[in-house]
C-alpha cells in the first residue's frame, strides 16, 4: 500500500513537471501549427538565466527566499526577450509555409540557440547554490508520505502546473481574447477577414509559449545541474506527452502528462528495467487506438 501511495505521489510530481514543459509546446502548435523544436532551447535558456540571476541574488547577500522571485523573473525575461525576437525576427516570415519547413526552421533555431548557450555559459554543469549551500529546492522544508521524505518544492511544481493549466483553460473559454484565439485556431483566413489581428494573436501566443518554456526551465533549474544539452532531452519528452494528448490540445497535454507520469512512476517502482521504454509504450498504445492522440478534434478539411 505504501508503495502504491509512493507511486501516486511520484507520478503526480513528475506529471506536473511534464505538463509545465509540454503546455507551451502544445499551445504554440494549437494556434500557429508550428511544432516548435526550439521549445527545448527556450527551456534551457530559462534554466541558465535562473542560475545566473539566483547566483547574482545570493552573491548580493540578499535573503535566500528571494531566489524564488529570481526564478520567476528568469522565466518572464526569457518569454519577453526571446519570444518577441524569435517571432518578429524569424517566424513571421515563415507563416503560410509547409509545416515541415517550419519544423526545420525551428530545428535550425534550436541548434543555433544551443550553441549560443554554450558560448554564453560554457560547457560546465552549473547549479543554484547560496553561500551556505541554500537552494530553492530545499529551502521550503520537507513533507512525509508513506514513510518517504519529499521536499515541499515538489508541491510548488504541482501548484504551478495546476495554476498554469487552470489559467489557460479559463482564458481560452471565458475571455474575449481567448475566444478570438479559438477563432484563429479554427480558421486563420476567415478570422483575418472578420477583422481579427492574426499577426498580433500569433505574436502574443508565441511570447506566452516561450514564457511557459522559460517557467519549465526556471522551475527545473534548482533540482538539477544545469548543463548544455538539457533542452534536447526535454523536447523529446514534451513531444511524446503532446502527441499522446493530441497535438494542440490543452486537456490532452494535461491527461497525457498524467498518464505518462503515473506509468513511469509505476515502472520505476515495480519494473525498473522497463522504465526507459514506458513512455514510448504509452505513446504506442495510445496512437494505435487513437492515431491523432486522445483529444484530437475533428480536422476541418479545406478544399
Amino acid at each position: 500500500m505504501s508503495q502504491f501511495i509512493a507511486v501516486l505521489v511520484d507520478g503526480i510530481v513528475y506529471s506536473s513537471w511534464l505538463f509545465i514543459i509540454a503546455v507551451g509546446l502544445t499551445l504554440i502548435y494549437g494556434v500557429m501549427k508550428i511544432l516548435n523544436i526550439a521549445h527545448g532551447s527556450l527551456y534551457a535558456l530559462g534554466a541558465f538565466t535562473s542560475v545566473t540571476l539566483c547566483t547574482m541574488w545570493f552573491s548580493g547577500g540578499h535573503d535566500a527566499m528571494g531566489s524564488y522571485a529570481m526564478l520567476l523573473l528568469a522565466a518572464v525575461l526569457v518569454g519577453l526577450v526571446a519570444g518577441p525576437v524569435i517571432e518578429r525576427g524569424l517566424l513571421q516570415f515563415m507563416y503560410g509555409k509547409d509545416e515541415v519547413v517550419l519544423v526545420l526552421v525551428t530545428y535550425a533555431l534550436f541548434l543555433i540557440l544551443e550553441d549560443l548557450i554554450k558560448l554564453v555559459w560554457g560547457v560546465d554543469p552549473l547549479f543554484i547554490t547560496g553561500p551556505n549551500g541554500e537552494s530553492p529546492y530545499s529551502l521550503l522544508g520537507n513533507f512525509e508520505v508513506a514513510g518517504l521524505t519529499y521536499p515541499n518544492y515538489n508541491l510548488v511544481l504541482v501548484g504551478v502546473a495546476a495554476a498554469t493549466g487552470g489559467a489557460l483553460a479559463w482564458a481560452l473559454a471565458k475571455t474575449r481574447s481567448g475566444k478570438l484565439l479559438l477563432a484563429v485556431i479554427h480558421d486563420r483566413e476567415i478570422s483575418a477577414a472578420l477583422g481579427i489581428n492574426v499577426g498580433r494573436t500569433y505574436f502574443v501566443t508565441f511570447t506566452i509559449g516561450a514564457m511557459l518554456a522559460g517557467v519549465g526551465g526556471a522551475l527545473t533549474a534548482p533540482t538539477v545541474s544545469v548543463v548544455t544539452g538539457m533542452g534536447a532531452e526535454v523536447i523529446v519528452l514534451a513531444f511524446a506527452v503532446v502527441v499522446i494528448g493530441g497535438l494542440g490540445s490543452l486537456p490532452g497535454a494535461a491527461l497525457g502528462a498524467l498518464i505518462v507520469g503515473l506509468v513511469r512512476a509505476a515502472a520505476v517502482h515495480y519494473f525498473p528495467e522497463v522504465e526507459l521504454f514506458s513512455i514510448y509504450f504509452v505513446m504506442a498504445v495510445v496512437l494505435i487506438l487513437r492515431p491523432k492522440g486522445l483529444f484530437s478534434g475533428a480536422e476541418v478539411r479545406k478544399i
Binding site: 505504501s2 508503495q3 509512493a6 507511486v7 505521489v9 511520484d10 507520478g11 510530481v13 513528475y14 513537471w17 554554450k118 560554457g122 560547457v123 560546465d124 554543469p125 547549479f127 549551500g133 537552494s135 529546492y137 530545499s138 520537507n142 514513510g147 518517504l148 521524505t149 519529499y150 521536499p151 515538489n154 527545473t220 534548482p222 533540482t223 538539477v224 545541474s225 544545469v226 548543463v227 548544455t228 544539452g229 538539457m230 532531452e233 526535454v234 513511469r264 512512476a265 520505476v268 517502482h269 525498473p272 528495467e273 522504465e275 526507459l276
Partner: protein, 449 residues
C-alpha cells in the same frame, strides 16, 4: 610566345614539385596527433574539455622541453608535437567518418582519443583496417581487448572491471555486514557494465547478499524523484552508482534533502572529480573512486606535480581530474614507446668499425622510427605516468594494467576531503590475460586459467 612562357613555367613548377615531394616525405618535421574528445554535449564539461586542456598543456610543456624525467626530450623524440582536436559528440557512426578524415586527409601520425565506450568499440576495427596507431585514453569497457585482438590499437588506462572489484573490496572491508544492495546507474553501455560488474562481484565475494532494486534511468534524465523513492522504499544497506556529470549532480541535489543517505551507504564509482563541486551535498562517509590512482589518489611524484602545475595554468587554477590523468598517460605512453623505438634503432645500428656506408647507416638509425617499430616498442612496455607506473600487460601487450584506490569522504572547513584511502594492487583487481572479466569474477577471482 605567351603559351611557350606558360609551358616553361609549368614545367618548372612540375619539376620542383616532383623533386621536393620525396624530400618532404623523408624529413619529418613534426608529429601530428589527432586528438578526439567531447567538446559538446553532457560529457564535455566533466570529461571532454578537461581532457583537451590537459592535452594542450602537456603538449606545450613537452614541446618546450619542460617535461620532468624521464620525459625531458623535446616534443616526442625531439620532434615538436602538433594537435588536431576533434569533437567526439555525434555518435559512433559519425566518429568513424571523422576518424577516416583524420587518418586519410589530415594524415596524422597517431590518433589519441575516445571517452565513450561505444566509440572505442566502433573505432578499433577501423584503426586496424587503416593500419593507424590509435590510443584510447579514457573509455573503460573491458570488451575491447577481451573480445578482440588488435595490432594498431592500444589503451593506456586500465579497464573498468577493477572499479567494481576494488569498490566491493573496500565496501566489505568497511561494512562487512552488508546484506541489502541497490544501484542507480545510467541506462547505457557504461552504466550497465558498471552495475553488472558490481552485482557479480558482490555476489561472488559475499554470497547471500540480496539485490533489492536496480534503477536504470535514462542517460540525461535529470528528474530522479521516482527513482529516489524506489531506492528509499527498498531499504538498502548500500547504493551503488556510476552516475557522472550533470546526472550525478542532479541525483545528489534531489536525493540529499530526502534523508536517503542516513541509512544507506553510498558508493560512487566515478565520484572523485565532483567532490569539489558538491560541498555539503555529498554525505560524509561516501565511498568514492577515481577509476584508478588518479586525482587525490595519485601518489606524490615529480610527474604528478608537473601535471598539476601544467593543468592549473591551463584551466585557471583547477586541479586535474581523472580524464586529465588519462590523457597524460596516453601522450606519455606514445612518447615513451616512440623514444624507446628510436633508442633501440640507434643502439642496434652501431656502425662503429664497419667502415662501409657509415653515413647512410647513421642517417637510417637517426631517422624517426616507423609506425611498426613504435608499435613493437609499445607492446608490453612499462612507463611512468603522473598516476604511477603503467604496465602494458593485457590484450597481448596492448592494454594497460594498474592498481587502483578507494577512499571515504568527509566534509571539513567547507571542503570535501577524501580519507581512509586504500590501495589495491593490479593483480588483485584485474583478470589475468585471456580470461574475460565476468568469467574471472564468477570463477572467484582465480589468478590462473
Amino acid at each position: 610566345m605567351l603559351t611557350r612562357l606558360l609551358r616553361v613555367a609549368l614545367t618548372g613548377l612540375a619539376i620542383t614539385a616532383v623533386s621536393s615531394a620525396p624530400a618532404l616525405a623523408q624529413q619529418k618535421t613534426s608529429i601530428k596527433i589527432g586528438f578526439v574528445t567531447f567538446l559538446s554535449g553532457p560529457a564535455s564539461g566533466p570529461f571532454g574539455v578537461p581532457a583537451k586542456l590537459a592535452a594542450e598543456g602537456i603538449v606545450e610543456s613537452l614541446n618546450a622541453g619542460k617535461g620532468p624525467a624521464p620525459y625531458q626530450i623535446k616534443g616526442i623524440g625531439g620532434l615538436p608535437v602538433e594537435l588536431v582536436v576533434i569533437d567526439e559528440a555525434g555518435g559512433a557512426t559519425k566518429q568513424v567518418s571523422e576518424y577516416r578524415t583524420l587518418v586519410q586527409r589530415q594524415d596524422v601520425d597517431v590518433v589519441i582519443g575516445y571517452i565513450g565506450s561505444g566509440d572505442c568499440l566502433a573505432i578499433a576495427p577501423v584503426a586496424e583496417e587503416l593500419k593507424k596507431l590509435t590510443v584510447f585514453f579514457d573509455c573503460g569497457t573491458p570488451r575491447i581487448f577481451e573480445e578482440g585482438s588488435y595490432k594498431y590499437v592500444f589503451r593506456t588506462r586500465p579497464h573498468a572491471t577493477m572499479d567494481a572489484v576494488a569498490a566491493t573490496m573496500y565496501l566489505l572491508d568497511n561494512r562487512p555486514a552488508v546484506k541489502r544492495v541497490s544501484g542507480i546507474n545510467q541506462n547505457y553501455a557504461y552504466g550497465q557494465d558498471s552495475w553488472n560488474d558490481f552485482e557479480a562481484t558482490i555476489k561472488a565475494m559475499k554470497p547471500g547478499v540480496e539485490i533489492v532494486t536496480s534503477q536504470m534511468p535514462k542517460f540525461g534524465a535529470g528528474q530522479y524523484g521516482s527513482e529516489i523513492s524506489a531506492l528509499i522504499a527498498s531499504n538498502p544497506d548500500v547504493i551503488h552508482s556510476s552516475l557522472w556529470g550533470g546526472d550525478l549532480e542532479a541525483f545528489m541535489l534531489q536525493a540529499q534533502p530526502r534523508d536517503i543517505f542516513k541509512k544507506s551507504q553510498l558508493v560512487l564509482v566515478a565520484g572523485e572529480p565532483y567532490l569539489h563541486r558538491l560541498p555539503g551535498k555529498i554525505p560524509d562517509g561516501t565511498i568514492v573512486g577515481a577509476r584508478g590512482t588518479n586525482g587525490v589518489f595519485a601518489p606524490d611524484s615529480a610527474l604528478k606535480r608537473w601535471l598539476v602545475a601544467t593543468y592549473k595554468a591551463k584551466s585557471g587554477g583547477l586541479d586535474p581530474n581523472y580524464p586529465a590523468y588519462s590523457v597524460a598517460q596516453a601522450i606519455l605512453g606514445v612518447k615513451a614507446a616512440w623514444e624507446k623505438a628510436a633508442a633501440k634503432k640507434i643502439g642496434s645500428a652501431t656502425p662503429m668499425g664497419a667502415a662501409k656506408n657509415v653515413k647512410e647507416e647513421m642517417e637510417k638509425a637517426y631517422a624517426p622510427p616507423t609506425q611498426e617499430e613504435v608499435i613493437a616498442a609499445f607492446e608490453r612496455n612499462v612507463f611512468d605516468s603522473p598516476s604511477g607506473k603503467v604496465h602494458m600487460n593485457l590484450g597481448k601487450g596492448h592494454q594497460a594494467v594498474m592498481g587502483t584506490a578507494y577512499g571515504s569522504t568527509r566534509f571539513e572547513n567547507g571542503v570535501v576531503k577524501v580519507g581512509s584511502i586504500k590501495y589495491y594492487d593490479a593483480d588483485r583487481v584485474t583478470p589475468p590475460e585471456g580470461v574475460s572479466s565476468l568469467d574471472w569474477i564468477k570463477s572467484g577471482f582465480k589468478r590462473t586459467k
